[in-house]
């Protein structure tokens, strides 16, 4: 009961903040609403008993990536284009079209899954007793998903080195 209240509140907040992100005039406010959005998503992860994921969501997304967004927005003084800028009309039309396509897809998925409920066996196996979310994620990451993990870390390393080389002044 309490869980439902919390879930629906968080869901409303997430959707609300999401809408505010795309509609606010002031760019810095957009980014701040994005942070709030991510924090609410982290709380949903906690509800799902995935506490490690929740903390990582805060640490990496809200505390790292969005901080960089904020840096760029503030330093470059990014402003939203005024409503009268040329090219807005075709942009708006394309946006609406894409949104309609997405809505159609999502409804199709929901209708399909409602008429074909998943079997119990297909559900994820219950967590072995005593093992927290962190241990489970760690075990999976380093055994079944080792190769993707290493590839992802290589990608990050390359991106970092590239960024440093691009930003360095020629001494």
């Amino acid at each position: 009961m309490l869980e439902s209240i919390v879930f629906y509140t968080l869901a409303t907040l997430i959707i609300g903040f999401g809408v505010l992100v795309v509609t606010t005039r002031n760019t810095v406010h957009c980014v701040l609403f994005l942070v709030a959005n991510f924090l609410c998503v982290a709380m949903i992860y906690v509800l799902l008993a995935a506490e490690f994921l929740a903390i990582i969501q805060i640490l990496v997304y809200a505390g790292g990536i969005v901080v960089l967004y904020l840096f760029v927005v503030m330093l470059v003084n990014l402003q939203r284009q005024p409503a009268t800028a040329p090219g807005r009309r075709p942009q708006a039309r394309a946006g609406f079209a894409l949104a309609a396509v997405m809505l159609a897809e999502l409804s199709a998925i929901l209708v399909f899954s409602a008429s074909h409920p998943a079997s119990v066996a297909a559900a994820a196996p219950p967590a072995p007793s005593g093992m927290g979310n962190t241990t489970m994620v760690g075990l999976l990451l380093y055994s079944d998903y080792l190769v993707p993990f290493e590839v992802a870390s290589m990608l990050l390393l390359v991106a970092m080195v590239g960024a440093i080389i691009l930003a360095r002044k020629d001494a």
Binding site: H29, E51, I55, I58, L59, G64, L70, F71, L75
Partner: protein, 339 residues
């Protein structure tokens, strides 16, 4: 049902009150300690030996005019001190003061929550605290505080990496992310981690100095800086909130160092039986004593050392502490696997 909500709620109330009171009196402690190092007396007028000075300061700050710059972003301007203070306070939810103590016949555990990702929770809270500085610099609607705020937050983010490496080394040694679990691991290992991981201890302390914007890494706050810091436009209680947040962060960092490296609530030599007379001192008192020692060292360092220039500061964080941290982590992990 009610007891499972009432007790944690009470604990939160007690801890928050304790933290806020200690933070206000820490201002007095700092002034006194620095004064005594400098052959002076510090505040002496308000109350016996100046002990009521923080109350006078609080009244003064509350009565000051609340100035908001004309074209500043009002929401963000008000939000920034809050975003600076709240992470400092909620960090106390996972600090374990003692495993159990009895009050009025009830046995209660002296921590609000022992979540099994306790250490990681603290790290994520620190990264949220960075927003307070960025938003403060931005909201002042002036180029120099903005740049100063961005510089200060860049300093914080850089030293976060070094600190996290050290925390990971400790996690490798203890095998758990839970704060209570780490103290238990030190008890089982019969040794405080400070002696096993001296490099990590030193780097955590230096990183903690940088994270809380304390000397010698306090260039963003120095009055001699030409361009003014990120809190230039703040006055009255909002200004005070930034500094209270800094002191609260100091207490959190000291508590984390106490838990991770000097055994938290364990008395010295917990496995040595003939020192059992020390057991009469309650565990939370040991914890507070050890935390106090670390806080004193913070203040002592501020009184003694000159200040690093910004580029030297960043060079230290990136070129010295992070490689040392990674090396420490690799060595720790290798030794842990081998033995």
């Amino acid at each position: 049902m009610t007891s499972s909500y009432l007790v944690p709620l009470l604990k939160i109330v007690v801890i928050l009150n304790a933290v806020l009171v200690s933070v206000t009196f820490m201002t007095l402690l700092e002034r006194k300690v620095i004064a005594w190092v400098q052959v002076r007396l510090g505040p002496m007028r308000v109350g016996p030996y100046g002990s009521l000075q923080p109350i006078a300061d609080a009244i003064k700050l509350l009565l000051k005019e609340d100035i908001t710059p004309a074209r500043a972003d009002k929401w963000v301007f008000t939000l920034a001190p809050i975003v600076a203070m709240v992470p400092a306070l909620i960090g106390f939810a996972v600090i374990p003061f003692d495993r159990e103590a009895s009050f009025f016949g009830y046995r209660v555990s002296l921590f609000v929550a022992d979540i099994n990702v306790g250490l990681l929770y603290l790290v994520s809270i620190t990264s949220i605290g960075v927003y307070g500085i960025i938003l403060a610099g931005y909201a002042s609607n002036s180029k120099f505080p903005l740049l100063a705020g961005l510089r200060a937050s860049a300093q914080l983010i850089s030293y976060e990496i070094a600190i996290t490496m050290m925390l990971v080394s400790i996690v490798v040694m203890a095998g758990t992310l839970s704060m209570v679990g780490i103290i238990d691991a030190q008890y089982n290992a019969h040794v405080w981690y400070m002696f096993v991981q001296p490099v990590a201890f030193v780097i955590l302390f230096i990183g903690g100095l940088a994270e809380t914007n304390r000397a010698p890494f306090d260039l963003p706050e120095a009055e001699q800086e030409l361009t003014g810091g990120y809190h230039t436009e703040y006055s009255g209680m909002r200004f005070a909130l930034f500094f209270l947040a800094e002191y609260a962060n100091m207490i959190v960092v000291s508590s984390v160092a106490t838990t991770l490296f000097v055994g938290g609530w364990l008395r010295p030599f917990p496995n040595v039986q003939w020192l059992g007379v020390l057991d009469y001192v309650p565990g939370w008192l040991w914890f507070l004593l050890k935390t106090f020692v670390f806080i004193y060292v913070f203040l002592w360092i501020r009184a003694t050392l000159p200040r690093y220039r910004y580029d030297q500061l960043m060079r230290l964080g990136w070129k010295v502490l992070i490689p040392l941290g990674i090396a420490n982590l690799i060595v720790t992990a290798t030794l842990k696997v081998l033995f």
